[in-house]
């Protein structure tokens, strides 16, 4: 194989631009359908259960251990310049601003994004999406829009729960392992955290919810070629959602940084 570098570079760039364009128009069409009536309430509720309720164990477990390890690690670092008392503050700020939304987003991308791509991809290759159209039902309205709406609405709630559980994890380690006074730990946490800390995390969460469901739906909807195609769609949904979460995490952080 003798492929000139320029050719490869050109092809990758073209594919990237074509993919971005296709995704953007997909998102536009889906959002339009999400706003316009009629709404499929049952579909939205089902997706909220799927994304929110059934993700609670995974996200809760991630949050509590992250909070615990955060307290322990910050102690190691902060003890070096006798700043152990800042641990409750470090835990709550890290969690609400950063780790809550990002880790919950990544976990949900793995759990929900994959399932969505697999479900919609299977519907595509078994012609169920064509069947929807022949029954005068817009698949964007029936399949995609409820998932996007559920993602945008549910992820902030999930992250709020994760924030609380994470802080509780930090509290457990702080009080029972590092010997903090329990009242002082909680007081430090509550006094220190600001509205913007929590709010910026929730904005991230809503945006990540959009990205995860968009990637799941897009890759499922455009999958082709049987079982292998669905498998690829699933992988692409998780990988692209994770990359987008990490990328946009920086830009949203930067936007709030200058506030």
């Amino acid at each position: 194989m003798n492929v000139p570098v320029i050719t490869v570079l050109g092809r990758v760039t073209l594919d990237f631009l074509a993919g971005t364009g296709a995704m953007t128009s997909f998102a536009g069409r889906a959002l339009r359908q999400a706003v316009l009536p009629p709404y499929y309430h049952r579909q939205i509720l089902r997706q909220i259960m799927e994304i929110g309720y059934y993700s609670l164990p995974v996200v809760g477990l991630t949050a509590i251990f992250t909070g615990m390890v955060l307290a322990l690690q910050s102690y190691t670092g902060f003890a070096r310049f006798s700043a152990e008392s800042a641990i409750p503050n470090v835990v709550v700020v890290s969690l609400t601003r950063e780790l809550g939304p990002v880790l919950a987003g990544l976990m949900v991308a793995g759990r929900v994004g994959a399932a969505m791509a697999a479900e919609i991809g299977t519907m595509r290759v078994t012609e169920q999406i064509d069947a929807l159209e022949t029954l005068s039902t817009d698949p964007f309205k029936y399949l995609v829009a409820p998932r996007l709406l559920a993602g945008i609405l549910t992820l902030p709630i999930l992250v709020l729960v994760a924030d609380i559980i994470g802080v509780f994890g930090g509290y457990l380690v702080g009080v029972y392992k590092l010997g903090f006074n329990d009242t002082a730990y909680l007081r430090n946490t509550v006094d220190f955290v600001t509205f913007l800390d929590v709010f910026s995390g929730l904005v991230k969460a809503a945006f990540f919810g959009f990205l995860i469901t968009l990637m799941g739906c897009y890759h499922g909807y455009t999958s082709k070629g049987g079982a292998r195609g669905v498998g690829m769609a699933t992988t692409n949904a998780v990988v692209s959602a994770s990359m987008l979460i990490l990328t946009f995490n920086y830009f949203i952080t930067e936007a709030f940084f200058s506030l």
């Binding site: 012609e127 169920q128 159209e133 029954l135």
Partner: protein
């Protein structure tokens, strides 16, 4: 003067990259007629069907339903045209998570806004007309055999009393007896509804049974069409080879998938 055709296709072309799948199809189907399009795998039968259904946009040409041009319609107007259509997909394409009766009632409930109670009655009635009892309605599609799934899919296709019904390889994957049962049901349902039917198949027994007229698609063109009774006297070497299933003849097998 002959009445204007229910479906009128003129100069239809569709290509995927360099591969020209449909190369100028002209086809008229009269109201109440049952047209069967035969042809080997990869000759463009499915693409033709999907273009008429509006699931695919042709590159050029015109498709008229009741004299109304449907190529290039917006999504809202297309939904209105879809109301006239019913489609039986090859694999059934039943929705996994709703029950059987909800599958049949999907069109009436989701698109026509019918009350679920009334739609349930209609679903049970339609299941009855394909020979399935009301108890089947409470099962999930995955609990049914292939033949049963096809019956449910047929019930779903006729649930909104469509004017035109499309059948995509209705007997593929069924044993000969179940295939004949499905053929009988198709003939009966189409007759009861007074609908126009368009089927694609490579099963000659099925084509002879459900068709009034047969057209043969080869290399993106309709190379022959005529009444079902005249297919044995077509005088066309391609048709002869196809209906007798001979390996030798003018038809070369398609290697690449479309």
């Amino acid at each position: 003067m002959t009445p204007s055709p229910k479906i009128s296709v003129r100069g239809l072309t569709k290509a995927f990259g360099p591969k020209k799948v449909l190369q100028g199809i002209d086809l008229d189907i009269a109201s109440g007629e049952s047209m069967v399009v035969i042809g080997g795998s990869g000759t463009g039968k499915s693409v033709l069907l999907k273009c008429i259904l509006g699931l695919m946009r042709p590159d050029s040409g015109s498709i008229k339903i009741d004299g109304e041009e449907i190529v290039g319609l917006g999504s809202r107007q297309r939904e209105a045209v879809m109301r006239k259509f019913g489609m039986l997909f090859q694999g059934g394409a039943l929705f996994d998570s709703p029950k059987v009766w909800e599958n049949v009632a999907f069109g009436p409930i989701q698109s026509d806004g019918m009350a679920p109670g009334k739609a349930h009655d209609i679903a049970i009635e339609k299941l009855g007309s394909v020979g399935l009892g009301p108890e089947i309605g409470e099962l999930y599609p995955s609990e049914l055999s292939g033949g049963m799934q096809k019956r449910v899919a047929l019930a779903r296709a006729i649930a909104r009393a469509p004017e035109i019904i499309f059948f995509d390889e209705p007997t593929t994957g069924l044993d000969p007896i179940m295939a004949d049962v499905i053929n009988d049901l198709i003939v009966q349902c189409v007759r009861d509804l007074g609908a126009t039917a368009v089927s694609i198949t490579h099963d000659m027994a099925s084509a002879r049974k459900i068709g009034d007229r047969i057209g043969m698609l080869y290399e993106g063109k309709l190379i022959w069409q005529g009444p079902v009774g005249s297919i044995d006297r077509s005088g066309n070497a391609h048709v002869e080879q196809f209906i007798h299933g001979r390996a030798d003849g003018p038809i070369r097998m398609q290697v690449r998938k479309l």
